[in-house]
């Protein structure tokens, strides 16, 4: 197991721990996106946990607020929030809300949750960083369902118009939105072709393959003059078999007796 794979497994442990405290939640999303977050926070992003307002930091923007469970795991593992605080996830008075808010939880660059907002703000940041001639880059994580929001495409058009090569969008296709699979709700496919047609340097990869993610980022960085889209096909609940098999749910319900089994399955999983 590589160092990044170990980190991803550690993030998944944190996700299980947080989800168990509240008894349910977005455990499927947190497990599914752990590989990307491991690559982001422990390989790609430049940041300083002791100086969160460092102007040259890379920005990671979480559009999809309900994935906060995964982001909190990464922020804790990165030393930005205390590990012990993860036990407060979703509880009254906690900084770690089910859908995170900037200025409440450290390390959040924006407030996601109302979908279709992240990419526009990422575009503004990318323009601003370029104006200031800073080397920092902007990474935005959005979801497959979020591609149904018209504002996502307003922002996509704008990013290509301004040739924002310092902007990277990850589109997490876990094939599950609130009311069911996007194909039944409102088909977004062929989603990689849509991003390409909007003028983005676009790749589509297995988003649960760490090597594929790092390779895709390397390729994206070699492409000049365009913003970069990396479509991630991921599996909700990845790493815990009983959740993977229950992936047909946006909001997974878990019996209290199942958490121990989930932990065992995660540890057995290579």
């Amino acid at each position: 197991m590589t160092a990044l794979q170990s980190k991803a497994k550690q993030l998944r442990r944190h996700v299980l721990r947080m989800a168990e405290v509240v008894g349910q939640g977005y455990v499927g999303q947190g497990l599914g996106i752990a590989d990307l977050l491991a690559v982001m926070y422990f390989d790609e992003l430049k940041y300083d946990p002791s100086r969160l307002d460092w102007p040259d930091r890379d920005r990671f923007l979480l559009s999809i607020g309900h994935y906060s469970i995964g982001l909190y795991a990464a922020l804790a593992e990165a030393g930005i929030i205390p590990l012990a605080e993860l036990d407060t996830y979703g509880r009254d008075g906690s900084r770690l809300e089910m859908s995170g808010t900037e200025h409440i939880c450290p390390g959040l660059e924006i407030t996601g949750g109302s979908l279709g907002h992240g990419l526009s703000q990422a575009v503004g940041m990318a323009i601003g960083l370029r104006l200031d001639q800073r080397p920092a880059r902007v990474f935005n994580l959005l979801s497959d369902g979020e591609c149904q929001e018209g504002s996502t495409w307003e922002a996509a058009m704008c990013a290509a118009h301004y040739r924002l090569e310092n902007l990277f969008a990850f589109i997490d296709c876990n094939n599950q939105q609130a009311d069911g699979p996007p194909k039944q709700i409102m088909n977004i496919e062929p989603i990689d072709q849509k991003w390409r047609a909007f003028g983005w340097d676009t790749q589509r990869i297995n988003g649960n393959d760490i090597r594929a993610i790092t390779d895709a980022i390397v390729r994206a960085k070699r492409t000049a003059g365009q913003p970069h889209a990396i479509v991630l096909d991921t599996l909700m609940g990845k790493g815990v078999r009983l959740f993977e098999e229950r992936e047909k749910n946006h909001f997974i319900r878990v019996e209290p007796s199942e958490w121990q089994q989930a932990r065992v399955q995660l540890e057995e999983n290579q």
Binding site: E102, S114, H117, M125
Partner: protein, 322 residues
């Protein structure tokens, strides 16, 4: 729509002094003091006077095209990098199309975004599509947001300077093109959150905002000729609302007419009513503004008469409040 900017009359009266594009010129002056200012527009630069800034600082101006949600979001992103973005569109497009973006990206995150919105109330010959009649109600309801409705060219310029220095999200109504000068005679200095007593009187109080303040001053002159002393309190900041100034005046003169270039619900009249109710003041309140309807299109004098928003209508309501 060519020629609209040149023809625009933000007051229904003719012949008074005007200044051209006070916002655009004030923004160019502001950037001399603060080089972090940037400009954006959603395909309306030329119609919102920000073209003056664009032509002077093309590298600091970002055309976003017809995409108001993205306009707000991009500005909020620039603000998070430390820029001071001034963005322009019309009231209707900013507040109807991009409400969620103003609320989430600008206000909730306290992003230092300045939203400058043209065609407030009945300042366009176009009808319900272009008349921003409920924008103050929408914007006033958003936490963290500062909401300003300037009354003339002097105040547009002063407010532009002030909000450039203020840290935090602002929604400001724009009077564009040839804008009347009303306040120069009153040694006026705009301050965010401060109402200003432009004229004192003990018989009736007129509390006004935006371009209705010019008409309120005219009404006060008419009333004075009839022996009625009217005070005029100009409230250009709708939020935060200067309750103290309003209550001080109304404790002394508990007969009031509000006058606003907006629906009579949700804007100035509602803010005054809230303040008065909370304070338990017994006040007789009459409201001048747009009733609960989308308005017709037509010439500005026609619209002012049709919806009873002329100086004469303010004077009439003032007499009924006595």
């Amino acid at each position: 729509m060519s020629g609209v900017t040149g023809n625009i009359l933000t007051s229904a009266t003719d012949g008074g002094q005007t200044l051209t594009a006070p916002f655009g010129h004030a923004l160019v002056a502001a950037v001399e003091r603060n080089p972090r200012i940037v400009g954006l527009s959603a395909d309306l630069a030329k119609y919102t006077d920000i073209h003056i800034f664009r032509d002077r600082h093309p590298d600091r101006f970002f055309q976003i095209g017809m995409a108001e949600q993205n306009l707000i979001g991009v500005a909020a992103g620039l603000a998070r990098i430390g820029f001071v973005p001034f963005l322009t569109t019309y009231c209707v497009f900013a507040t109807r199309r991009a409400y969620d973006f103003i609320a989430m990206d600008a206000a909730l995150g306290r992003a230092n975004v300045k939203i400058i919105a043209g065609l407030p109330g009945l300042t366009t010959g176009y009808g319900g599509t272009h008349q921003g009649i409920e924008d103050l109600a929408l914007m006033r309801s958003i936490p963290n947001l500062t909401v300003i409705d300037p009354c003339d060219a002097t105040e547009v310029a002063q407010a532009t300077t002030a909000i450039a220095q203020h840290v935090g999200p602002v929604y400001m109504r724009l009077l564009r093109g040839q804008v009347p000068v009303v306040l120069d005679a009153h040694k006026y200095q705009f301050e965010i959150g401060k109402a200003k007593l432009l004229r004192d009187g003990n018989d009736v109080a007129i509390i006004s905002t935006g371009l209705m303040t010019g008409r309120a001053l005219e009404a006060a002159v008419t009333l004075a000729a009839e022996g009625i002393a009217a005070a005029v309190l100009h409230v250009s900041t709708l939020k935060p609302f200067d309750r103290q100034a309003v209550l001080e005046l109304l404790a002394r003169v508990p007969r009031v007419v509000t006058a606003e270039n907006h629906l009579i619900t949700g804007g100035l009249a509602s803010a005054v009513a809230d303040a008065v109710t909370d304070a338990g003041l017994p006040v007789r309140l009459r409201r001048v503004g747009i009733p609960d309807c989308f308005c017709e299109s037509g010439s500005l004098p026609y619209l002012a008469e049709r919806y009873r928003m002329r100086a004469a209508d303010i004077a009439e309501q003032a007499k009924k409040a006595l």
